[in-house]
């Protein structure tokens, strides 16, 4: 724990202003502006090809945008080459130097900075301690497991106490269990070291788990910026609702004061200002099998159970809705395993009534 305190850092805020990068006719980044506060854990989340990695490369200095500004603190860095930016960076495939030992890898930035031998040894030991790799300094990189390599890459990126840490899908090469462990560990490490962190991932669950704020990027544009719960509960459009978490999107018609799905009317939390076509976002964990008593604060849907799938921690039910314009419209609901008994589960083919709280009935355009 002592070593962790020594590693504690000052951090810098990052201001990205109107950054645009065009490849021929294709916009990799389209007028992106984003302020990342000092010490924040910011995740750039988007599908592959969305431009999130390009934005990270702009921050690191490996890609020059067509125009725009990037400031670290008050200093404009857009014209600075990568080696003068003083950022720590962790790459997707670790990018460890295979011809060096763990110690030499982690000590590399110190050597470049002309740090004395004794000081280098001290800081390398601290950094290896921070990532829980004490005593592995003399190992060769190829003797390490994937998780250990990831830790070495992390130690190498933090050993010189950078004020900003960039991570490009650092956990994507690890298996699921290790990945989930590392997510929590990385988050704890960030809280201890307190450096401004920009984290790129396509894994929405990872983003929700780790971030202070998430910037959802698609087609080179910033679609939504917000805290994980804001983004999950109040996605700004159909793309985000579909991309973040599991959801069924039901087409809804709004003609004030009525909101209707097919022929049946529903109530929603915040009716939109304009009439037109919208989508109702239904999260599978928020729908439930309705009891006999109908309540005023719930919407009800009728449908036929198509499939019932055991998934360990929960039971997934796929239901084909009646009374919708689209015959193929299905809804997914998730029942926690603890409440699953043979009695409560309907049989396949049976008609069921589903309930969704009005407070959870959220529309997107």
């Amino acid at each position: 724990m002592k070593s962790l305190k020594n590693m504690k850092n000052t951090s810098l805020n990052i201001s990205i202003d109107n950054v645009t990068k065009k490849y021929d006719d294709f916009y990799a980044l389209k007028d992106i502006s984003l302020d990342i506060t000092s010490g924040e854990f910011m995740t750039l989340l988007g599908p592959s090809g969305s431009g999130k990695t390009t934005l990270l490369m702009v921050l690191a200095g490996f890609t020059n945008p067509d125009h725009g500004s990037v400031k670290f603190g008050d200093e404009e860095v857009i014209l600075k080459p990568p080696h003068l930016r003083g950022i720590g960076m962790v790459f997707q495939n670790y990018a460890l130097f295979p011809h060096m030992t763990v110690e030499q890898n982690v000590g590399y930035p110190q050597k470049l900075r002309g740090v004395s031998k004794s000081e280098t040894t001290k800081t390398v030991d601290e950094a290896l301690g921070t990532v829980k790799l004490e005593g592995l300094g003399h190992r060769r990189v190829d003797e390490l497991s994937g998780g250990q390599r990831q830790r070495v890459a992390l130690a190498r990126a933090i050993v010189f106490k950078p004020k900003i840490l960039l991570m490009d899908e650092p956990l994507s090469a690890l298996d699921k269990k290790l990945r989930e462990e590392m997510q929590i560990e990385l988050r704890q490490l960030h809280d201890t070291l307190n450096m401004t962190t920009v984290y790129v991932t396509h894994d929405q669950k990872e983003a929700l788990t780790m971030s202070d704020r998430i910037a959802v990027i698609n087609g080179g544009e910033l679609m939504q910026l917000g805290k994980p719960n804001e983004i999950y509960d109040h996605p700004q459009n159909g793309f985000i609702a579909d991309f973040i978490g599991e959801s069924s999107l039901l087409p809804v018609k709004v003609s004030k004061p009525n909101v209707s799905i097919g022929s049946s009317k529903i109530k929603v939390a915040k009716p939109p200002e304009k009439n037109g076509d919208y989508l109702l976002v239904v999260r599978p964990e928020k729908v439930f099998l309705a009891s006999d008593k109908k309540k005023n604060d719930e919407n009800y849907f009728q449908g036929k159970l198509l499939d019932s799938i055991f998934q360990g921690e929960s039971q997934l039910l796929v239901i084909k809705l009646a009374n919708t314009e689209n015959d193929e419209q299905t809804l997914r609901i998730r029942i926690p395993n603890q409440s699953v008994t043979d009695k409560t589960l309907p049989a396949i083919g049976e008609t069921v009534t589903l309930a969704l709280k009005v407070a959870d009935s959220y529309l997107v355009s």
Partner: protein, 294 residues
């Protein structure tokens, strides 16, 4: 009961394994015969001949002559000098070229590769004579230089060390580029980005990361070029014009002019042993380095 059940099918499985071994032996047999008939026996014969003197008895005179005759010592010096120079020039041209190719997109790299490979596939004799035509006194290069007024007297490009080196470098270059380029392509580009993000200037990143990672390919290329140069015959014979005498040419004259099989064999044995030693030493170096490249 247990011991019986443990031995189920044991005999049959053993027979199966034996048959598999026999199949593999059968598949390698033609090659084994070829190696023994075409390499082991002739090389053994060569060793034997090198110890036979002029009078047909066992003697060391063929080796003594090499040690004592100035002509032979000079030949060895020339052979090593030409080989080392060719190797160095190939590295000086091939390393930047391979680097350039490794940075290109696949499409352009392939086009460059074709440009490297077409001369590689062209007959060695054709290329050597082409150089003779280009480099001779009234050849294309001298004509251009004189007409452009850069020189007044034709430069002497052929029938000397310069001509030999030009020809040999041209012929050897692909042998250096092919392993080196493959090595450079396989380097994770993020390694250089990582070095840069950690604070390394491009020059520093080259010396501390890129160069060490290309050493296996470079060593392999240098080795192939050097060893091939040691026994090279056609190009030095034509472009050297009899003034640059390398070991392989001396072997040929020993046989063609003096019918001295013993002396020729001894030279052959020395070349073989030297090559063997170089390969042995280098294989240690390269295998060590490739461990670091995994």
């Amino acid at each position: 009961m247990n011991s019986i059940s443990n031995n189920i099918n044991q005999e049959e499985l053993k027979r199966l394994a034996a048959r598999e071994g026999l199949t593999f032996f059968g598949l390698t047999l033609p090659y084994l015969i070829m190696v023994i008939a075409l390499i082991a026996i002739p090389v053994g014969w060569l060793f034997y001949l090198s110890f036979i003197g002029r009078d047909g008895t066992l003697s060391l005179e063929n080796y003594e002559r090499m040690w004592k005759s100035k002509a032979y010592i000079k030949i060895f010096i020339t052979t090593f000098k030409i080989s080392i120079l060719t190797t160095i020039i190939c590295a000086a041209i091939g390393y930047p070229l391979s680097y350039f190719m490794s940075q290109l997109s696949r499409k352009w790299a392939n086009i460059c590769m074709i440009a490297v490979l077409i001369p590689f596939w062209t007959s060695l004799l054709v290329r050597t004579y082409a150089w003779l035509v280009l480099l001779q006194k009234k050849g294309l290069i001298n004509n251009i230089l004189i007409e452009s007024g850069l020189i007044t007297e034709p430069l002497k490009f052929v029938h000397n060390t310069t001509g030999t080196l030009i020809g040999m470098v041209h012929i050897m270059l692909p042998f250096l580029i092919l392993p080196l380029y493959a090595n450079m392509r396989s380097i994770d580009k993020d390694c250089l980005k990582a070095a840069s993000s950690l604070g390394a200037t491009p020059t520093r990143a080259f010396w501390t990361v890129f160069l060490p990672l290309t050493l296996p390919g470079l060593l392999a290329g240098l080795l192939i070029v050097f060893v091939l140069c040691l026994g090279f015959y056609v190009t030095p014979a034509i472009l050297g014009g009899g003034k640059v005498i390398m070991a392989a040419m001396k072997i040929s004259t020993n046989i063609e002019m003096y019918f001295n099989w013993g002396a020729a064999s001894a030279l052959g044995v020395v070349l073989l042993v030297v090559t063997g030693i170089i390969l042995f030493v280098a294989s240690k170096l390269i295998s060590l380095d490739q461990l670091g490249n995994r």
